[in-house]
Every structure is written in structure tokens, then in C-alpha cells.
Symmetry: C2
Subunit: 338 residues, 2 copies
């Protein structure tokens, strides 16, 4: 079934059918109804490839995970952002295409793959490190939105959550609970996200007039639980413990809790812990974990609207920063603030 057959069945030209399908106004109500009926009956759907070829518009958004390919769908944070992004893009009339990375040896040639599929825009989700191929895309004419990734091209924008606010909510919570000796567990030095969280934390500590002790700042090899365990263990063995620790991820925090418990130390009585991300496990551990939750749904919706505006030349890019929330559970005790 194609547009030609529909035209024949309705006794009109192909042009007329096309106009009707695209909501042109200069068609008589009568022919319009007749054609629409036939389309309805036959279940005709126009071919996207023919349409894309003719218009250079695909109504397709490319989804790219920058860096660390093996995380992708299994990363809980991005998966939730993506979920709300997908819903919102769907409402706006777009579908999503995921580039497979294993097809070419030089898998990162995102720009030419965007041309290949004629995607109308891209959402780029930040992994550990930034590939050069991402910069090529950022600088191109293709609209791009970064998630937790600062894109600065002319047709680019980004959304991220406010890392300074994250840190200042954490420090404020510790402060109100009476803690003045604050430590930190982060990932490696090449992790943007860990660095941003640490920088925000350091400046929040200064903002509250507290003294920062570099001894209490330790780092693991990644964001996972064993790294938190190892980092906390080394801190314990140093013999000099802070009263409260902020970890750059929930799994780092849970690893730290395990190390503390193994040494007979109590959470929160001996050391208070706050994690970051609010993964599912936080609710089921003992103690349950106080953490920071990012508004993933809002990040996804914002990303979708920004991309839509960029595609339709309604905006010049820019960025949105979303406010995080502190989720109070057991790992800091109830203290003064309640």
C-alpha cells in the first residue's frame, strides 16, 4: 500500500493525498474526507524512508552514550532520565534511535551516523570520559543536548543537576546534626561527576566556615561498592576518622558502611554517611541510606523540550540546572534538625 494506490482509490492525484496527510489547508472538505476515509480503511502508513528522503527530516532522535560503553542501559540514573526523555519526545512526535557501537572499528563516528540516519537531533549522555567524536558532533549543525555533559556548540545545550546545591544540602544537613569534621569518598580523578561533587563539597565546607582536612578526602577506583569499602578501610587504618562522610555515589557509601561495620564502628553513631543518587538499594540496607536524589524525570523532560526548540530554531541552546533533594533516612541519625 502506498500513496499512489490511495490516490487511485480516491480518484485524486498523489499531490492531493500528500497535502491531506500533511494538513495543508487548501483542500476541499469533501475530497479530504473521502481520502481520509480510505486511509482509515486501508490502514495506510506512509513510508518514513521516502518521506525522509524527500524532506531531509526523519523525526528521529539519536541517543548516544559517551564513553564507557559497557554501562549504557544498565546505568540506573541515565536510564531513568532517558525514560522520561523518551516519553516527552514521543509526545512531540519523535522516535528514538540507538546507535550500536560495535558495528565499525571506529565506532565513535557519531557525526556521520547522524547524517546516515538524518536524525533531527541527538541526546548525549555522559559516561566517564569524553570522546573526541562527541566534540565533532557538538560543533556540527546537528542539534544536541547533553545530559550531565556541558555541550557548548552553537546548536547545543545541556541539562544537569546542581552539584553545588547537592554539596551544600549535604553540608547543611551534617552541620545541623552537629558535625564539624567532614570527609569525602570519591571516584578517580578523571571522573567529571566525582570531581564536580567534590569541588562543590569543598566550597560548601568553606561556605559554612568549617575547616577542610585533606586527610579525610579519599578516592576509590570507580563508583562501585568495593571501592567504597577499600577507601573507607584505608581511612580507618589511618587512625584519624571524620564524624561524617559524603560519598559521591550510593554504592561508595554502602561500601564505606560495610567497612565501618566490620571494624565494629556504628553508623550513624560513630560516623554519619550520606550517599548520592538514591538508587533502589538505599531503602533496603541497614541502616537505610540518607542520600541525594536528582529529579531525573525533570531532567528528561527538560532535555526533550530544549532539543525540540533547538530543532525548530526556537532557541539558541543554553542550559538548565535542576535542583536536587536530600532524602533523609537512617544513616545520619535523627539529630537536631528534626
Amino acid at each position: 500500500m502506498n500513496i499512489k494506490k490511495i490516490a487511485e482509490m480516491a480518484g485524486v492525484s498523489v499531490s492531493t493525498v500528500s497535502k491531506i496527510m500533511n494538513n495543508y489547508s487548501d483542500v476541499s472538505e469533501k475530497t479530504k474526507r473521502r481520502v481520509l476515509d480510505i486511509i482509515e480503511q486501508t490502514g495506510y502508513t506512509p513510508s518514513s524512508s521516502a518521506k525522509t528522503l524527500a524532506t531531509k527530516k526523519s523525526n528521529l532522535i539519536g541517543v548516544i552514550f559517551a564513553g564507557e560503553l559497557n554501562v549504557e542501559f544498565t546505568h540506573p540514573f541515565f536510564v531513568e532520565v532517558l525514560n522520561s526523555f523518551k516519553k516527552q519526545m514521543g509526545v512531540l512526535g519523535y522516535d528514538l534511535i540507538f546507535f550500536s557501537n560495535e558495528k565499525f572499528i571506529n565506532s565513535g563516528d557519531y557525526y556521520s551516523r547522524c547524517l546516515h540516519f538524518h536524525v533531527d537531533g541527538c541526546v548525549i549522555i555522559s559516561g566517564q570520559q569524553m570522546e573526541p567524536a562527541i566534540q565533532e558532533l557538538d560543533r556540527s549543525h546537528i542539534p544536541c543536548i547533553g545530559v550531565d555533559l556541558e555541550l557548548t556548540g552553537k546548536k547545543s545545550g545541556y541539562v544537569m543537576s546542581d552539584n553545588y546545591q547537592i554539596a551544600s544540602k549535604v553540608v547543611e544537613h551534617f552541620y545541623l546534626l552537629g558535625h564539624r569534621e567532614l570527609g569525602f569518598i570519591g571516584s578517580t580523578a578523571d571522573s567529571d561527576i566525582s570531581n564536580r561533587r567534590e569541588a562543590g563539597y569543598v566550597s560548601a565546607i568553606a561556605g559554612f566556615g568549617l575547616v577542610m582536612n585533606p586527610q579525610w578526602f579519599v578516592h576509590g577506583d570507580d563508583f562501585f561498592e568495593p571501592s567504597g569499602y577499600a577507601a573507607m578501610s584505608s581511612l580507618i587504618h589511618s587512625g584519624d576518622l571524620p564524624k561524617a562522610i559524603f560519598a559521591a555515589s550510593d554504592l561508595l557509601a554502602l561500601g564505606a558502611v560495610r567497612a565501618l561495620k566490620e571494624q565494629g564502628l556504628r553508623v550513624p553513631e560513630d560516623v554519619a554517611i550520606i550517599g548520592c543518587d538514591d538508587i533502589e538499594a538505599c531503602q533496603y540496607t541497614s541502616p537505610t541510606l540518607t542520600t541525594i536524589r536528582q529529579n531525573k524525570e525533570r531532567l528528561g523532560v527538560l532535555a526533550a523540550h530544549m532539543l525540540f526548540d533547538l530543532i525548530n530554531n526556537q532557541s539558541e541552546g543554553g542550559s538548565f540546572v535542576v535542583e536536587p533533594a536530600l532524602i533523609v533516612r537512617e544513616s545520619c541519625g535523627s539529630g537536631l534538625s528534626r
Copy 2:
């Protein structure tokens, strides 16, 4: 940049360039090299829409989540299956397209959307219930693979994990630990997955010559933690507790653990618990949760290969069942089996 320009630059015809790009053998080594060099230099990528229009092949696989739209990406099991599916499909030369469901009021018209995009095949991931639109697809000429969904069409196949094996591993573990009084916590009666697990469990209990007590079989409203808590609470209040309980999901199991602890009962001393799925949280709870892990990577890889064969008429469909593994942690104690 298009094929015509490449042809001009190389001083050959468009046909010749096309043949070279598609690895036809009847081209001289000399022209081939010249054209390939120019393609390399210009970074030319052929347009997928033009190619699809000409060949009726898109190298695109449609991904569909059947039922319960709001789960989608955030479902940990399917997300991992999908991740490995995507990788494998990428190796085979396909990209993935996700249909947005919000675009049309009648969002479930998957068949016409497949035609619209000329997808070469579909992977359909099972949610709670089965929409009629899925059956339409299953019966169509479009190759489809179901994940945990029994597709029976001529061009369809499916992968799932072996629910009888899951159950018999659970019963065997309980049995070797000395437990003879076995209970079950499931989801609602309209959940295929819960039903299959329950049926397998019942038959495994019979297989070990044990007596099944219907009083010990309870059900929540879904697969989440509060349902497990509620179901376990009702069991506790009945005053008649089994010695061991298998839950149809890890979250149901964790809810049950919470209910038991609140009543001063100990896990595993008073009641042993086994969950299902091996979600991340199982490792961090106390006690850590013994559970069943499905080989999600293998399910994804198998789904990809089956779909590929279906697309290329190398197979007639059929199904694969993947063996699950029992992951022993603390929630059943160490007992006799170790």
C-alpha cells in the same frame, strides 16, 4: 555529499560506486581502490533512507515493551537483556529503534509502525499483560522474538528462562537445608511470570515428595516491596508459618524479610527466604538475599541470533530456554549443603 558527487570525483558512474559500496566482485581492483580512497577522504556515508527506499531493508530492529508502559527502561531485568541484545545486534550490523507510545491515541499499532520504518525485525519484551496489537505483529510476516513472551507466529520465536528449573533449584536448596514446609509469595493472578514461577514451584514440591499447603501460598498486588511486606504480614497473623519461603521477586522477598524482622522473627533461623532476579540490592541487605539469577546476557545474545536467522530465513523460529543459577547468600543459612 552523495553518491553522484563521489562518482563524478572518481570519474565513474553511480552504478559502479554503488557496487563498490556493496562489495560486488565484478569491479576492477584499480577503480575500486580509487573510489574507496575518495570515500575515505570525503567521509561519505550513504543515506539510510535512500537505501531503505530502494531495498526495503532498513537494518533497523524495533524494540517494543508490551504492556505496562511506565516500566520500560527502568525495569532492571529487561534493561540488562536489552543491553546484551543491543551489543549483539550491533555486531550483526543492526541498529535499534524504540517506538514512542505517546504519539498516537491508538499507540499500540505496532504493525503499521513497523511498516512505516521498514524495520527488519522486532524484539518484544514482556510486561504484565499482552496487548492484542502484539498478536497482530506476531501473526504478521515481520520477524519477531519475544523475551519472556511466548510468540508462536510463523516468523516468530522466543527466549525465556526455565521456570521449572528455577523452582526445582529453589526446592532442592530448601530440601538439602532440611526444610519440608515450603511457602510462596507471588504477584497477582494476571501476572504470567508469577504464575509460571508458582506452577514450577508446585510441581517441584510434588517432585520432591513434599506436601504442599495452600495456606502458605500468598499473593501481593505486584512485584514490589510493600506487597511482600503485606503478604508476609498476613501469613504471620495467620499464626501458621512455613519454614522456608520462595518469593517470585527479590523485592517481594525483601518486603517479607522486613515483616519478619518487625515481628521479632529471624531470617534465616526462623524462616529461610529465597528471592528471584538477583537485583543489585540483594548484596547489600541484611541478611544478604539468596536468590535466582537469570543469565540475562545469554538471553540477549540468543534473542539477537534468533532474530538474525529469522530475518535471513535461516530458521523457522522456535524457542530457547536458558538455565538459571542459584546464588547462595545469607537468607537461608549455611545448613547442610555446604
